[in-house]
Each structure stands twice: as C-alpha cells, then as structure tokens.
Subunit: 199 residues, 2 copies
C-alpha cells in the first residue's frame, strides 16, 4: 500500500530529481505546494512551461533570450569589436553588474572537462570561431573561471583564435578588492606579485 | 535592462518562493530546468497541477488521498475502535512504517502554536471530536511530537475528549532503541526513569 497518494508521490519524485534536493526536502516542498493557494501552484507550473517555451539562445552570442537577438547583441550602444567569452549565462550577469564592459559576449555553455566528458564539440566554440573569422572583431577577452578547467578552456580557445590575428586577453588575477592579505591563498598572492603594476 | 529573459526571471522567482531555497539556489534550479529534456520539464509542471487537482483530504481522518476515503479508512482489516492522532500526514507514514499499529488515524494538520497564530479552529479538532462522539471509538492515542507545542495540543484535545469516556493514551517517552545513555538528554532520561517497567 502506497502511503501518500500516487500524484503526491509523483510530485515528491519531481522535486527529488532536482540537483541538491534530497528526499526529505522534496517531501517538504511537495507539502508546501499543496498548502499554497491553487493559483500560486498553477503559476509555478506555468513558469516552468513558459520558460521552456520562450527562452532560447541568441544565435549570435549564445546567451539566453526571448527575443530574436539578445538585448546586448541588439543594442546599438555596444562596442561590436570586442567579445568577452564566458562559460555560463550567469557570468554575463556578473560582468554586466560591474558596469565596466560595453562590448559583446560569447557564452560557451560550459568548460572543457575530460572528467565530466565535456569536449570542444559540447561547447559553443565553433560559433565563436565563426564570429571572429568574419574579421570585425579586434579583441577577445577570455573570462572563464580562474580554475584548472576554466584556464584550460581559455588556452584551448586562444590557440584556435590566434590565426585570425585578434588581440586575446584574459581577466587580471590578483587579490580581491576589500580583502585581507592574511587570508589570501598562495596561488593568488603569487599571481598578484607576478602581475604587479607601477603606481 | 533585465539581464535574464523575463520568463526565466519568473522561473527563478517561482523557485525562490519555495521554503528554504534562496536566490542563488533558485537560479541554479532554473538553469537545471532549461537543461533537462523538454518532456521532463513539462512532466514536472504537470506533477504540480496534477497533485493539486487530485489530492484532497479524507473526509474521515483528514489524511491526504486521491480516493473518496483514504486507504486506511477504507480498509476492512483496520481496527475501527482506535484512533491515533497525529499532527501531519508524514507522521502517518512514519507510524505505518513501524508495522505495529492497525487502527485508524486522525491528522490535525498542525499543532496549537500561539507564536505562529495557530489556534484550535485552524486544526481538524472539531472533526476528531465528531468522530469520537459517534461512540464507536474505544481508545484515542495522542501521537503529536514530544515537544512543547505537541504536548500542549495533546493535553488540549484530551480535555475535549474526556467527557466521551474514551481511553486516552500517548506514545511512551524514553531512550531511543540503539542509542547511548551517555548522549541521552536530561529530560529524556527523567521520562525514561519515570516510565520504567518491570522485566
């Protein structure tokens, strides 16, 4: 005898299939779904189907968008000669928040990772090469995460873009603003010393 | 300029409205929803609407069910003269797992809690009194959680049921099976001594 009704068990299973949500949390979330007003529950379901229906990747930069082109690619105020290459759509949000960058983006949707069986064909690398090959790009900024997989991906892509004669740069490594030298790790301090600048 | 597409922001908002899920986790879950096959995403949405459509409370014991009566109430093998009173539907599942109980249940859907503004009218207490008043019940087992609110609720309900002359019991307090005396808290040890039995 199943103790919860079948459709309720299905709802628990659905929540438990989400990353980072265990069986107990899934049960709690399922109970929550029953306790909210019916409109809220239906709105939740609709939010999922709507997002799946409307959101697609921008054919130019591969960022998420509902329009034909994403807001960055379609803006006349952005500098079309610079591309900032990031791993994920959320990285675009982080960089935009700095208000320092006015060029275009290219979202790879992942990084090279032999362990997770992610190879060059699983990322939007060909699309980036095609954009650069058109000849209008002067600089490509590699802004993948400063870890092994991010660095590897950046170096791999630099190699592919080198023949087109574009300037290839990466974000500066160093100690974070507002942090404390005492707590900086060795690798970061080493990079910060290497990259020291005159004042 | 909103940086994620609107329908994607809506999906993040929906996840962030769930208890225990912050903004960062909500964003991660929303990305996950976009990365799974479209059928899985739609199945998730459907699980929510289906559970809301089909699941209701059993008119007899107030447990969740999809049928007219819940499986326990409609089973001819259950002892109809005993009611075990629990706070939540998940408590029914816990007690059923012990395979020790063969009577009926009554789910209160909460406990009395002045702090959270939960009074007697917010719980399924009247429904319990009505069941007991019919005269077929011989024993009511109070199985609310052994904490202040659970105990208060049990004592309050006992007072209401006393006039009907039914036997009212509660679960035994004591040291958990397989545990270690060294780690038992004082209140539990005190209750275990009070409730000692001859061997």
């Amino acid at each position: 005898m199943s103790l919860f009704p079948q459709s309720f068990e299905n709802l628990i299973d659905a929540f438990a299939s989400l990353p980072g949500i265990g069986r107990k949390s899934a049960q709690r979330l399922a109970f929550h779904m029953l306790s909210v007003p019916e409109e809220s529950a239906n709105a939740f379901a609709e939010a999922i189907t709507n997002a799946r229906k409307r959101v697609h990747t921008c054919p130019n930069c591969q960022n998420l968008t509902e329009e034909e082109l994403c807001p960055v690619c379609s803006s006349p105020r952005r500098d079309g000669s610079v591309i900032c290459v990031v791993a994920e759509p959320r990285d675009v949000v982080s960089i935009e928040r700095s208000r320092e960058y006015s060029g275009l983006y290219h979202v790879l949707h992942g990084v090279l990772s032999p362990v997770n069986r992610v190879g060059p064909d699983d990322l939007k690398i060909t699309e980036l090469v095609t954009r650069v090959a058109k000849g209008e790009i002067k600089e490509v900024i590699m802004a993948t995460n400063p870890d092994t997989e991010g660095d590897t991906t950046a170096i791999y892509i630099s190699g592919l873009l080198r023949p087109f004669g574009v300037k290839i740069t990466r974000l500066a490594y160093g100690i974070p603003v507002g942090s404390n030298l005492e707590y900086a790790d060795d690798a970061t301090l080493m990079r910060a010393l290497e990259g020291r600048v005159e004042i």
